[in-house]
Amino acid sequence: MTQLTGLGRSFTRGIAGLAAVGLLLTGCSSGSPAASAPASGAAAKFTVGFAVGGQPNADWQKLQGDVAASLAAARGWGYVQLSNDNSEATATTNADIFIQKKVNIVMTFNGQPAANPVMAKKYKDAGIPVVTFDIAQPGWYFVGVDNASAGTAGGTKLGELAKSKWNCKVDMVISAEGTSSGQINTWRTGNARDAVKTVCPDIPAAAYVSYEADGNLTTSLKNAPGVFAAHPNAKNILVVGINDQAVVGALQAATQLGRDGSIMGWGQDGGLITGKNVDPNLVGSVMYFLESYPADAFKIADQLAAGNAPAVKDTGDNAAVQIKPCPVTKDQAAAIPSIEARVTQLGAAPAGTTAYSLFCKA
């Protein structure tokens, strides 16, 4: 160890040199590059803080950020983007950063909302208005689908199909849950399940089975086979779930076990209902055009920037911007372009166009 003492001495000198250079640079630098607002920003330009969801299995979350960035650029506003990294701890840290940056408005999709009350307190104390996508929080502008009604809409459509095709003779109703999403799961999956029950009340209670799909196809496909094996006599099967990925996982498991003779799944979020490789048993989904949420959020931002803060409407049924869910069957979805194409088209459309008006052909 001691033979490195000489090295140690040069380390010390090296650090002193580095520190000097650093201080010099600090003095010369005018601060951070264009992307973020200057630190002392009272009269600075209007800045949007955007926190993307960061869930690794959801491509629309990254695209939300892209759309928001271009909307901000079009208005000549400042724009700061962070990722919530699908963690409530990171989301809370992001709140601190946005407050430090003195952004004028925060838009966020936070898939782990457990810490929202704490963040709401911080933002309130800092006087920063917040737009939240899909997950309501008292005091925050709610832009999104009413997940509860989206769940009910999907379940109702599926139930109606079961009624017309099978006369409501259903042997099993599978719920592909995503429990770590908490309330959203209860709304989407739970309400879909209840809606099926409403349309076809004679399905026995024992026929309702849940399993953990964790909102992604791989985990869903891993856990679903056991469910099918455990109910070997179920012929007519319905599948609801927290999103398309979860539902398709169950449908694929059915195919692998040869149980897809008479099975129908209705998804949520429309992630796997468009394109060339739609699962044959995914009969429909509910599209929210999540990638276009920022367009609606920016409407609120526009009003704020003009000095007319709109009233804070913060719940699903009393929303600042209520996104209409678009339940689509597979055939209807065939006419809807892919998510990337939709982002491009929405960007080219005149300001104020909603994705629903552009794409919901149902």
Partner: protein, 337 residues
């Protein structure tokens, strides 16, 4: 890291010219390990059958064999690394996902199936080679290297793609949906890989060299085996096997994301440990690996039959792992006395 089995130089004393380490004591423990895993598996099956007599059915067989297919192949990759004394390879999920993505991209660009398969396995091997290079040239601990590469690799994958879909009309996809001899198609590559690797480990010079390097690296070196070369090729080989797992993964998952492979990590390591493959290297029986993968894959199905919440599946897997290594350690202590 605390290593419990006391590795003595006995291996070299009874070693033959070819460097094999077979001793009587080891054969006996192999049989006992087989019996104990079989025993626990049987216990689980009996317990489930008592509660639900319809547990013993083709549906269950399909469910279990399907669930164990991809983990099984990946477990072989991990086992090769562990047996060769490489401690653990924590970046196998990256090899798997990289291979799956490369294969799917090739297919989406209308390349023929055989080319896509080749590209897939090659990608897995390439990632393994990268890991191997860093371990060998840096002389660094493989756990740390592969931990870092696992982090970094995932990030690179996220920069490469957000989601990937295999063309539904491709041969590979049709393969993933089909069956052979009543069992899912993807089950058979796993069986072949385990059997081939197992035979190779026990009966070929390559296999014996691998075990020698794992069991007693100093002795192996004095016998002229090049440690760096062996280690490097083990990582490449494990990467290639993980690439094969990636192919099967792409075949059965119509849509996947960069993080999809991470699911397999803990399960595969647990399978390797349950199979009695010591993390100190040198010994390992792939037949036991087949049994432990099968056993672990039966648990989620059993839980479904019991009607329990799915979280209990994880609880049971964790508890069984602790129990298994506890019993293992206890037996070792008792025999060492």
């Amino acid at each position: 890291m605390q290593t419990s089995p006391v590795r003595t130089a006995d291996g070299s004393a009874s070693g033959r010219q070819d460097g094999s380490f077979v001793t009587d004591a080891r054969d006996r423990t192999g049989l006992r390990d087989t019996l104990s895993i079989l025993g626990v598996w049987l216990l689980l099956i009996i317990a489930t059958t008592v509660v639900r007599p319809d547990f013993l059915s083709t549906q269950t067989l399909l469910a279990v064999t399907f669930t164990m297919s991809i983990s099984g192949i990946l477990a072989v990759a991990q086992a090769l690394v562990v047996i060769s004394g490489g401690l653990l390879d924590l970046s196998l999920p990256v090899s798997l996902t990289l291979s799956a993505w490369a294969t799917v991209t090739a297919l989406n660009n209308d390349l023929p199936t055989w080319a896509a398969i080749f590209i897939g396995i090659l990608s897995g091997a390439a990632w393994g080679a990268l890991n191997g290079l860093i371990v060998v040239f840096g002389k660094l601990n493989p756990i740390i290297v592969t931990l870092a590469m696992g982090f970094g690799g995932l990030a690179v994958l996220l920069l490469l793609f957000l989601s990937a879909q295999i063309p539904s009309d491709s041969d590979l996809r049709r393969f993933g949906l089909g069956r052979f001899l009543g069992l899912p198609n993807v089950f058979w590559p796993m069986v072949i890989v385990i059997v081939v690797a197992g035979l190779a480990l026990s009966f070929t010079r390559w296999g014996r060299r691998l075990k020698a390097v794992g069991g007693n690296p100093q002795a192996a070196r004095t016998r002229g085996i090049s440690l760096p070369k062996t280690r490097f090729f083990v990582f490449v080989g494990a990467g290639a096997v993980a690439g094969l797992a990636g192919l099967c993964f792409a075949a059965v998952n119509p849509s996947f994301t960069p993080a999809s492979g991470a699911d397999f990590q803990l399960n595969v390591i647990a399978a390797v440990i349950l199979a009695g493959i010591s993390l100190s290297g040198g010994k390992g029986n792939l037949l036991l690996l087949l049994l432990s993968v099968g056993f672990l894959s039966t648990i989620p199905t059993s839980i479904a039959f019991f009607g329990l919440a799915p979280g209990w599946s994880l609880v049971l897997q964790g508890a069984l792992l602790i129990l298994a290594v506890g019993i293992d350690g206890y037996r070792l202590k008792r025999s060492a006395r």
